[in-house]
Every structure is written in C-alpha cells, then in structure tokens.
C-alpha cells in the first residue's frame, strides 16, 4: 500500500502536479507514514528522476521548474511533521539564492534554483532586487552552505562584491561558500571579488555547487 503511494508521490513530481503532490503528502501523513520516509521514498526519488531526465535532454526547463514546485509544495505540507520529529532531511547542501539589489532579472536564478533542487540541494530562493542586508539576515537564519548571487547588469554586478564584503564584516564569510553568475559576469570578476565559485549556466552551476559542498 505504502509502496504504491510512494510511487504516486514520485510520479506527481515527475508530472509537475503541484496540487496532487500536496494532497498525496497529506494523505501519507493521515495514514500514519513518517514524514521523513514520505520525503525520502516518494518525493526525493521523484525529483532525482526529474534531474536525470533533464540531464539526458529528455526533460525541458518547464518540466524541471514544475517538478521543483511540486517538490516544494509537498515539503511545505510535511514541514511541521519533519520539525516535530526533529528530523534532518538528507541533503546535498543548503543553498540561499537571489538576484542582487537593483536587478529584477530572476529567470536565470530561478532555473539555477530548480536545478539545484533537482540535484538534491535544499534551496531557499529569496527572489530579486535583494538588498545586501537581506542576504546577511538569511545567512544568519538558515546557515547555508552556499550563497548564490545573480546579476544581469553591469551596474548591479558591484552588489555581488558588496554582499561578499558584508559577509566578511558580519563574520560569516568563512561559514558560507559564495557563487556568482549572470550574463555580464565572468570567472575573472568572480576571482576579483573573492567569490568561491562561478558558473556560466545552470548546468555548470550544479557541478560547481557540488564541488564546493563536497557533494560531487
């Protein structure tokens, strides 16, 4: 019975069915299954499959994004039970990602978030036009392994540098690896501002993130 339910959960992520993923999570909890097991046996298997299919070129971005949305919705249903059980989800790493202040371009960052989710990272997307202070607060709150800063304008790239400087001032720099990206950024810019990682696209971002967290 539970095996069948886990299979449906997995499939709901593969199909990107957000509401179904939520319903199945509630159904699992109602039938007495553990939240940790639901997550690991159902949804994580689904998002892994989505990641594999994308990697093989069989899935496209909308399928990846919808899969990550379904996964997120299910986790939201499970979260109170996960917290109550004091359970720690197995994760490739905790990541916080956002587009820096003054910049409203968030599609690339959203794709990176979806790809990281599919690769097993626990990702918090803090959106776009994010002030330096908000990144610092999120780092204090979530203690992420990775902070990903996106910029699509030459005029907003300096805010990547300012965020890294602010991390230093807050005494947080040693605790978090910083990755940067966005069309006008380069590896040379990443080196100049002291970022730990740079990726040209979302696929490379996953590889770099895994390298930085030792999840490779």
């Amino acid at each position: 019975m539970s095996a069948e339910l886990y299979e449906q959960m997995k499939q709901s992520v593969i199909d990107g069915e957000v509401e179904l993923a939520e319903e199945l999570a509630q159904k699992g909890l109602d039938s007495g299954l553990s939240a940790v097991e639901i997550l690991e046996e159902g949804y994580v298997k689904g998002i892994e499959e989505v990641g594999d299919l994308f990697g093989r070129g069989e899935f496209f971005l909308p399928e990846l994004v919808q899969g990550a949305e379904a996964m997120k919705a299910a986790v939201a249903v499970l979260q109170p039970a996960l917290d109550a059980a004091g359970a720690k989800r197995s994760t490739a790493g905790v990541a916080v990602a956002g587009t820096v202040a003054g910049d409203i371009h968030e599609i690339g960052k959203t794709i990176v978030c979806s790809m990281l989710s599919a690769a097993g990272f626990t990702v918090t997307d803090v959106g776009c036009d994010v002030p330096v202070e908000s990144f610092i607060e999120k780092c204090k709150e979530l203690k992420p392994d990775l902070l990903l800063l996106s910029a699509l304008l030459t005029t907003t790239m300096p805010n990547q540098q300012k965020t890294i400087e602010a991390l230093k001032e807050a005494g947080l720099r040693a605790d978090v690896k910083v990755m940067i990206g966005g069309a006008p950024t380069t590896r040379a810019w990443a080196d100049e501002i002291g970022a730990d990682g740079y990726a040209e696209d979302a696929i490379e971002a996953v590889a770099v993130a895994k390298g930085l967290t030792g999840a490779a």
Binding site: L61, I111, T154, A188
Partner: protein, 475 residues
C-alpha cells in the same frame, strides 16, 4: 502594406493591411491592454494615462482601443533625426533607406577565443570601426567601458563617441542620471536649442511582461516632452517572460509597444515614435534567449508587419547570432536575420554589426564581417536596372554567337560597378593559397588592423566646444 504618410495625417484603419493571423494578434493585444493592463510604475506616467481616460488602479493601467487610435492619429510615419552637419541628417520612416546602428550594450568583448569585460580602449576601437563603416550611421556603447567607474561611464563614453566620430550617437538612458548626461552633451555640442529638432538616438526598454519600470517611464516622459524620438523596444522571452508560442509572444510584445506608443503621444502629441521589437524564444534547455533560431526570423517579420500596419517606423532585427566566435554559424545566422528585416524595409536596425553571443559580446572581427555582409545585401537589394544601356543589345549583336564581351568597351565601362568584396574570397584556390590561405576570421582580423591604422577622428568640433566637452566629460 499601406502607403507612407506624412506626420499627423491619419491613414484609415490601423489593422487593414495585416493578414488574418496578425490581425488577431493586434486584436489580442488590444484585449490584453483593456483586460490585463500594464504596470506603469512611474506615478507621473500613470497619472497621465488616468487624465486621458485610462482605468488606473495603483500602478496598473488599463485602456481601450480609443487611446490607441488617438495615438496613431498623431504619431508620425516618418521623421528626420538631425545629424552633426546637415549632410549627416538621417530620415527614418517608410520611403527612406534603413538606418543601421552598430552593436549596442554588451559588457563583454571577444579577445581571441575568450570573453572579457570591455574597456575604454575597446570602446574606442568600436567607435573607430563604426566611424569608418560605409553602412553604419548610428552607434553607441558597442561595448561597455567597464574600466571606467560606473558613475563616470556615461560622460566618459559620450566624450569618446562625440570626439571619435561625427555619426549619430546613441547614449544609454536607462537612468535619469544617464539622460542628464545625454542632454547636457547635446547642449554643449549643438547649443541650447538642440532639441528643436529630433536629435537623440535612444532606446527605452519595457520590462516584460507588461511592465514599464519607473525609470523607463520617467525617461520616456522627459525625452518625449523634448520632442525627441522614442524608440520603445520590447525584448520578451518566449517561455519565460511571455508565452512560448510565437503568436502569444507577439501579443505581449505588441501590447507593450502600444502602451509605450500611447504614453509617448499623451506626453507630446506628434512626438516621433519607433516601434521596437527584438523578442525571441528562450531555449527550453538552458533558458537563454535564442537569436539564431528560425522562429526569431518569423517573429521579426511579424514585428515589422505589425509596426508598419500601424503607420509608424519600426526597429527590428540585427546581425544576431547565438555563436560565440565569428565562425560559420555566426555568419549564417547573422546574415539571415538581417536579410529578413531588410527585405521588409525595416526602418532602423540596431546591432547591425559586431554582436555575438546573442546580445552579450562585442567583436571587432564580427563588426567588419557584418559590415561587408550589409554591403552585399544592399548591393543585392538595388536589384535589376533595366534600360537600353544595361540591356546592351548593341553589345550582344556586336559580339555575336560564340564571341567574348571581355574586351568590349561596355564591359570596361561597367567593370567598377560590381560590388568589390574586401573580406570574402573571390580568388581561385591556388591564388588564395598563395596569399596565405586565410579564412574569413583571419581576413577580418587583418582588416581591423588596417582600418585602425587609417582611422583619424573628425575635427569638426570648434576649439571652444571641445574645451567645454572635455571639461564636462573628463573634468
């Protein structure tokens, strides 16, 4: 397609010349404007809409067809942009040749096979090449001089353009501070009355989907009130900021441009307006905008037709490619994209030379290759001249069956009319090999070196103007 009309002379139903499909796109865009509306983030711009009958709810502006119809009554079908000297004036609009602009805006430059951030030296190279081009009439920030501090970039860049070339200059106006620099340098070079004629080449972008940012709205209002042409350009990305299906993508693009058109005409009836569109599809594998995709060519054709059907000039297309180096892919995609819009008599083309990696990278080599492709396309578009001299019946009779025209005076008379390629190889194989067997990129690199050797900046600015410009921009 309707005939050209003069400013302020209405031309009947806007949608009349469109085919059934594009008519539906136009009607769908009108529905979007009425039902969904656009966010117009600048309160002054939103208030202007409200004062003219639009339904304004916070920043959301909805309006019906009547505002569009009124805007079309006053938007001119063509206009002349004043140049530094009268002979450099440029006519924009149907009946006038397409005005071509150089690559615009990338932060990166291709250096060998690597990309790096652009410098002021790179920008000076781009300015020199644009100045020497027989085709490019307008240029502006073909590469960002990222080694200049951001707060000084607009002024230092303006100086480099105005001193380095007398061609049309397109400053960046994405902020009020940049706009201020643009208008200040105009006043220095052309005097206090600089805005009595259309003079500034600028691009104002919407933020797809369906948003006019506060700064875009503020810049638009100020430029329009100065009577300066508004090129309102939309770069929606199918699959991310607009529907992936080209018809839906065009609907979003068309609605946004109409919003910009109405705002411009409300700010100043009769203000020159350019219908701008460079929307394309995002790759569903990477999310990147695809400028080499065949769907882009279809979209650009529709863009030109939609704009022209409104009776306003259109900016669309460019020598655009997804290739990262000036290779065969770059040449194929760029030439086909440019030919698509030139064949439709588009009015203005930005990125006509020098751009790579969609909109992300400038390359001097790509610039000279594109420039030669433009020369070729222009030569082809001149078409057949059929008259007594070109039919050459007397020559055919004189040479007779089996003869040769090579030694005939007629052949000699016309020998220099054939377009002479400077980069494209026309030599036979062994002769080509004997000359080093260069491929196009190698020939382009040599050509860039030659051009930079012969380049001399114009000296038409008088000493007092030059001193003032130096003091303002570099002081």
């Amino acid at each position: 397609m309707s005939a050209p009309r003069e400013p302020g002379v209405p031309e009947g139903a806007a949608t009349a010349p469109l085919d059934a499909g594009l008519r539906r796109v136009h009607e769908a865009a009108l529905r979007v404007l009425a039902d969904v509306g656009c966010v117009v983030a600048d309160p002054e711009a939103a208030a202007l809409f409200a004062a003219h009958g639009a339904a304004v709810d916070g920043r959301r502006v909805r309006f019906g067809e009547e505002l569009v119809a009124r805007a079309l009554e006053t938007a001119p079908a063509g206009y002349t942009v004043a140049g530094r000297r009268t002979e450099l004036d440029l006519r924009v609009g149907r009946g006038a040749p397409t005005v071509l602009g150089a690559a615009s805006g990338p932060a990166l430059v291709l250096d060998g096979t690597e990309q790096r951030h652009g410098t002021l030296d790179d920008l000076r190279t781009a300015i020199a090449l644009a100045h020497l081009s027989p085709n490019i009439a307008v240029h502006g920030f073909s590469v960002e001089p990222t080694d200049v501090p951001e707060e000084r970039r607009a002024a230092v860049g303006a100086h480099a353009h105005l001193v380095g070339s007398d061609k049309g200059f397109r400053p960046n106006v994405s902020t009020l501070a940049e706009l201020r620099v643009a208008t200040d340098v105009c006043e220095i070079v052309y005097g206090a009355g600089w805005h009595e004629r259309p003079r500034l080449w600028t691009i104002i972008n919407s933020t797809s989907p369906l948003t006019v940012s506060a700064e875009a709205g503020q810049v638009l209002l100020r430029l329009a009130r100065l009577g300066q042409p508004i090129c309102f350009a939309v770069c929606a990305m199918g699959g991310t900021t607009a529907p992936l299906t080209p018809a839906g993508l065009l609907t979003v693009q068309h609605a946004e441009v109409l919003c910009g058109l109405v705002l411009t005409q409300l700010a100043r009836p009769g203000c020159p307006f350019l219908y701008g569109g460079t929307s394309s599809l995002a790759s569903m594998h990477t999310g990147a905008l695809m400028m080499g995709a065949p769907e882009y060519w279809t979209l650009m054709e529709a863009t030109v037709r939609l704009g022209h059907a409104l009776g306003v000039p259109v900016r669309a297309g460019g020598s655009l490619t997804d290739a990262h180096v000036p290779d065969a892919q770059a040449g194929i995609e760029s030439a086909l994209a440019l030919k698509t819009v030139l064949d439709l008599d588009v009015d203005f083309v930005l990125h006509a030379a020098g751009i790579l990696s969609s909109f992300n990278c400038y390359s001097p080599l790509k610039f000279v290759i594109d420039d030669e492709v433009v020369s070729s396309l222009r030569a082809a578009r001149r078409g057949l001249v059929v008259d007594e001299e070109t039919l050459a019946l007397d020559v055919i009779a004189a040479v007779g069956p089996g003869g040769s025209t090579l030694g005939h005076a007629h052949t000699r008379r016309h020998a220099r009319e054939t377009m002479r390629a400077t980069l494209m190889n026309r030599a036979p194989f062994r002769a080509w090999r004997a000359l080093g067997g260069r491929d196009l990129a190698a020939a382009a690199a040599a050509r860039v070196d030659e051009l930079l050797q012969v380049y001399t900046p114009p000296d038409d600015l008088d000493a007092a103007t030059r001193r003032q410009l130096d003091a303002y921009c570099l002081g």
